[in-house]
């Protein structure tokens, strides 16, 4: 029982990582209706960008986040018309073509990363990486890593900013309108191509910043992408496809299940537990935890 506070705290920290992996992924699905299988590779490329920028400039990776965001958002903005073209094609199934296209992108990015960055794993150093807070009272104790706490703060900030952007700006109004009904939004003067390009740019930028953070908390390598793609997908499905507000709850739930299983039950069955919970919830509520997904 004395391990419970630690298990819950670790679950929340793990959940924070899942939030930042999944939140922009959910946004892009909600608006563009594309399941981007390259999300893990955007995270990987962002992690490498953070690592190499840090090695060259010796600037803390947390301070590099805005630079990485701008660089990758620009890249996403340029790339989006290609995805739009695939999605708006008249032949075949656009949804399926979107899946195939982004899957192809992910393979290409992974191959290129291994060619250019090599096959070794790296780690991005940060001043936050070494500190931790330790609390002990009675039989209970709690250790909180400062870099993971910074990750939690980042997750809260990103979620807050996205919510504000969607709920309190004209751009957000346009995005929500497009998500609800593309044709009606167009009739109301929303430029779908430009809005989609901005949404994709925001998604790529946030995913790349997430990569910088993961490189600091965990590691950086060309092969890291698929693991994060899977978790992004889990979280978004559990939250309800395209339901942005459900992402934090779904991410925390997965994080806590994983942590409690690691601590109290057999760590070997952690992923099985995650799959089982996901399966059961979808069985009861196919549109996610809050029944608000697509």
């Amino acid at each position: 029982m004395e391990l419970l506070p630690q298990a819950l705290a670790d679950g929340v920290m793990l959940g924070a990582i899942y939030i930042i992996i999944a939140i922009a992924f959910s946004l892009v699905y909600g608006v563009m209706h594309v399941i981007d299988f390259a999300v893990g590779e955007w995270i990987m490329l962002g992690a490498f960008a953070g690592f190499h920028l840090n090695q060259r400039t010796h600037v803390d990776p947390f301070l590099l986040l805005p630079v990485v965001f701008v660089g990758f958002a620009a890249l996403g903005y340029v790339l989006q018309p290609l995805i739009q073209r695939v999605l708006s094609g008249h032949k075949g199934n656009p949804l399926l073509m979107g899946l195939v296209f982004t899957f192809g992108l992910s393979l290409m990015f992974r191959g290129l990363a291994q060619t250019f960055f090599g096959f070794y794993s790296h780690s991005t150093p940060s001043r936050f990486s070494t500190g931790s807070f330790f609390f002990e009272k009675g039989g209970f104790f709690l250790t909180v890593s400062s870099v993971r706490l910074a990750g939690l703060v980042y997750a809260v900030v990103i979620t807050g900013v996205l919510q504000w952007l969607l709920k309190h700006t004209d751009f957000g109004l346009g995005v929500r309108a497009l998500a609800q009904h593309k044709d009606s939004a167009g009739l109301m003067g929303v430029n779908d191509r430009r809005t989609n390009a901005f949404v994709y740019a925001i998604y790529v930028g946030i995913s790349a910043m997430t990569g910088v953070l993961i490189g600091t908390i965990l590691s950086v390598s060309a092969k890291m992408g698929p693991e994060y793609t899977i978790f992004a997908f889990f979280v978004v499905v559990l939250a309800g496809m395209g339901y942005l507000a459900g992402v934090p709850a779904a991410a925390f739930l997965l994080g806590i299940i994983q942590s409690v299983f690691l601590v109290y039950l057999d760590p070997g069955y952690t992923l099985l537990a995650v799959f089982a919970v996901l399966y059961l919830i979808l069985l009861v509520s196919p549109t996610g935890l809050f029944r608000k997904g697509v």
Partner: protein
Amino acid sequence: MRRALRWATLVALTVAVPAAGQEAREFFKVGVVAELSGDLATGGNVTKRGYDLWAQAVNEAGGIPVGAKKYPVKLFYADAQSNPSQGAAAAERLITQEHVDFILGPYASGVTIAVAPVVEKYKVPMITGSAESPMIWRQKFLYTFGTVPPVNFTGAAAIQTLAGLSPAPKTAVIFGSNDTFSKATAEAFEGAAKKAGIKVLKFNIVPAGQDLTPLMSAVKGMRPDLVAFGGHDEELIKLVKGMRQIDFAPSAILMHYGVTEPAFVEALKDDANQVFGGAVWTATTRTKSEILWKDAPSYEAAARKAFGVGADYTQAGCSAAGIAFQVALQKVGAPPPLSEAKRAELIKALEAVDVDTFYGKVKFATDGEFYHANVGLAPLTVQIQGGKVAVVGPKKDADAAAQYPMTPWSKR
């Protein structure tokens, strides 16, 4: 008529292509099955480097002497994609389409176990310069050999070294990733710990690649003297980072392969210091050889020249695999291409190999639980000290004293 002609051409090509593959040639065709992409790409590419360096050195020396003539070697790669079934398919492709004379095997034990029945079926000899799981040797494949001793042999030695330190560790938490090699490593650690009188507080096999920091937070509360983990490169880096982040420093952290990989120190910098590992070769191992490289430092220098980084024991084991083939081929005295009968002779010659190399002695067991694994080497316990790999056990091979117990993270 035209259709009949088309069919005739097709049949002629089908018949002619394999025949062409068996044409007399002036070089040995060597198949390489390695994990060049996927989760195990780091180890797979280290393996490839070892094979490449051997091929480069042997070709610079004019090739493998057979009778009065020397035959160069040409490597043909097939990517196992870190996947056992892809590895098996890759080996089959190399054998049936490229008609390779012999195969240099994969990095991972899981992939090797999948490839071994394929080389057995086609009677093509394979030496893996990396795979360490005892499961491979227990199956007694006639055509599969390995230059790295099994992990139940090497992993146990590291625990014995730690048990001899003062104050000796009394408790341990042991876990391994869920793959063939890592599981075998964790089991070897557990068996040796129990034998050495170290109480195992917790033993788990965990899903590969998972963030284990929550588990480490719980383990911290158990206050074990020793944390031992069987895993691969990136998992080891993530684990040490996690332990650093929660300020958890037991008396000793023990890992196995991966600690000696240059990337481990490069990624963790000072945090890599004092981590223990198991190995069978380092750049300072005292060896003497007359084949290709005269000793371990010469090999290390060649590796640095070729790749810009030093070599670990997997890379060295892979180059030694090439040397073992070289020695056996000289004994068989058969020029390329090798017929099935000559490949069977090659197996006999490999079983008789007993040679001193830069890597140490290569001698394959011909019976028992280590059947066809290299039993010529002594296991070493290593520790990262000042960013370099130091041998700390057994005493006769040690070039530094173990730094123990581990300095707390906050005092570094």
